[in-house]
């Protein structure tokens, strides 16, 4: 596993434990987090990212965020995966996505995620896992 992918897996492992600081240890102070495919403004700076993660974490009962594919070019890591989680209110959410991560050294300075936010919002309200979503996420995860 490459350094960039290993860092990414450490971030995922931290998020599984709802360890916000464990996630933030891998981003630069000036990180820009485009977490909505461009639909809403980006989160800018580590402090703002901490605030966003601290808002998200308490909603999640269990996370199964995982990756299926990855590729690198220069300082950029592409990943394809699923943000799958169960909310404390009992909803099952599975959002397939591609992430593009720009690294400065071993830390991420620009984090861009592409997915359809309607999947997240509708599944949080109880929409079921569709056959299409099941197809996209029923693949072996990399890195365990």
């Amino acid at each position: 596993m490459t350094t960039k992918l290993a860092v990414m897996q450490q971030i995922i492992a931290a998020w599984h434990k709802q360890d916000v600081e464990g996630v933030l240890a891998h981003v630069t102070d000036d990180v820009v987090w485009h977490n909505s495919s461009g639909y809403a403004p980006a989160v800018k700076g580590k402090a703002a990212m901490r605030a966003a993660l601290e808002t998200m974490a308490p909603v999640i009962a269990k996370s199964a965020w995982r990756l299926f594919e990855a590729a690198e070019a220069g300082n950029v890591l592409f990943t394809e995966g699923v943000d799958e989680f169960w909310t404390k209110s009992g909803a099952h959410v599975a959002v397939p996505y591609i992430g593009c991560f720009e690294y400065r050294g071993d830390q991420i300075c620009n984090w861009r995620e592409y997915f359809d936010g309607r999947i997240s919002s509708e599944m949080k309200k109880g929409a079921p896992l569709t056959d299409e979503l099941n197809t996209l996420i029923s693949r072996p995860a990399i890195g365990g």
Binding site: H34, G38, Y39, A40, A70, I98, Y114, I119
Partner: protein
Amino acid sequence: MTDTFALSRRSAMAAAGAAGLGVALAGSPLRANSRFLPMTAVMSVIQAWNRHDVEAVVSHVTDDIVYHATSGYRPAASGKAAFKALLQQMGPVIQTSNWRLFDYAENGNRLFVEGVDDFITTAGHHVVIPYAGVFEFRGALITNWREYYDGRISAEMKAGAPLTDEIRSLINRPAI
């Protein structure tokens, strides 16, 4: 919505042309290999679509192609016949397009791309959809094609929503 998106993507890619890509690949490790280049195949697909040559596009995919065109929001087009039918449904909705890529990376038989589907509709709306995609190849043919973006951006901009600062920040990058 989805159909229009795919149409504009291909049209714009063709407009961008293969010459620029050749420059981008010249310094790439990919260039050092004499083997098949996935990015070149993708460019051929785009150029075919620019000629409105559906058969040529279809010639680049396997019989069992699966085209996930909506980030998982709606069912995929499965099989060459369905893929071809989807292409044939796509109408001339796009007036001008400026689809372009900002980055790409390859791993084995997979090619990741990041870019923007940027076009003007025949109704006069400017639509700008940042996206990422992955192509899986079997030999020289695309066998699985997956695109990720937020379909609300497409729908709302086609209805006249303006270009936002966030979208502008994602697309104001050098194209390859």
